[in-house]
């Protein structure tokens, strides 16, 4: 299976679109789900970022949401095909219950990502490329610059509202 950097780039874009869409759709940037998430949002705003983007980053840190669902779904498809992906959705749901979260976003993201990744494996992509693509996608949100990514997420949240 020819694996090129181009495939990894496309996989990163697809998983970025998947998890950001589902997170914004389930109203993650609205408020911090737990007190720790609100605290992270407030500290990011003090550093120059936007408040609602900071809330969403805090929610991603403090409970497994659609980004974790996408990662574990591609891990599941890599190790065991479609049943592995659905089993990973069950694990994400249990993890959400442990972290005091209703767990709709994580489970939905995991199930959609399972079918997206399986569909891409049919046209020549490898699931390993989706694992590293998801790692790159989360790096662009949480790891490069908190100021810019939180402003971007706040802009998306304004679109969702109005």
């Amino acid at each position: 299976m020819p694996a090129e950097p181009l495939h990894i780039l496309i996989a990163a874009m697809v998983s970025w679109a998947n998890f950001v869409t589902i997170d914004v759709f389930f109203k993650l940037p609205e408020k911090g789900g737990v007190s720790g998430a609100s605290e992270i949002g407030r500290h990011i705003e003090e550093g120059g970022g936007a408040l609602h983007g900071g809330y969403m980053m805090g929610n991603i840190v403090s409970s497994p949401d659609a980004s974790a669902g996408t990662l574990l779904a591609s891990c599941g498809v890599y190790a065991a095909g479609i049943p592995g992906g659905l089993f990973a959705a069950l694990l994400v749901y249990i993890g959400n219950r442990i972290c005091y979260d209703p767990g709709y976003a994580g489970t939905t993201g995991c199930i959609t990502a399972t079918f997206i990744v399986y569909g891409f494996t049919l046209i020549g992509f490898s699931a390993a490329e989706f694992i590293v693509g998801m790692v790159i996608a989360i790096l662009t949100i949480q790891g490069i610059s908190h100021v810019h990514s939180s402003r971007l997420l706040a802009t998306l949240w304004r679109w969702r509202q109005g």
């Binding site: 720790g36 190790a79 790692v135 949480q142």
Partner: protein
Amino acid sequence: MNGYEIALALCGIIALYAAVRVVLEKDTMRKLPFLNVVSFAISGSIVLLIPHPLAIVAAAAYFVGSTLESNAIASTYAGGPKDE
């Protein structure tokens, strides 16, 4: 160097980069998103190292454990749960 090795090396390098950013960041709460990147990269490389069905359970256990740890640190820093 095939695609599998490129993926594994990228995961390792991203994990090291995020770890360096955790150490260099001054504000305690702003360290936690970088720690989240580290745990994403590590649970990805666990599955890439051993493609076995049980590896999903191990990666999910590591990810949930690390998330729970970040959650506990953040809420203790914020002053603990209000309803206790």
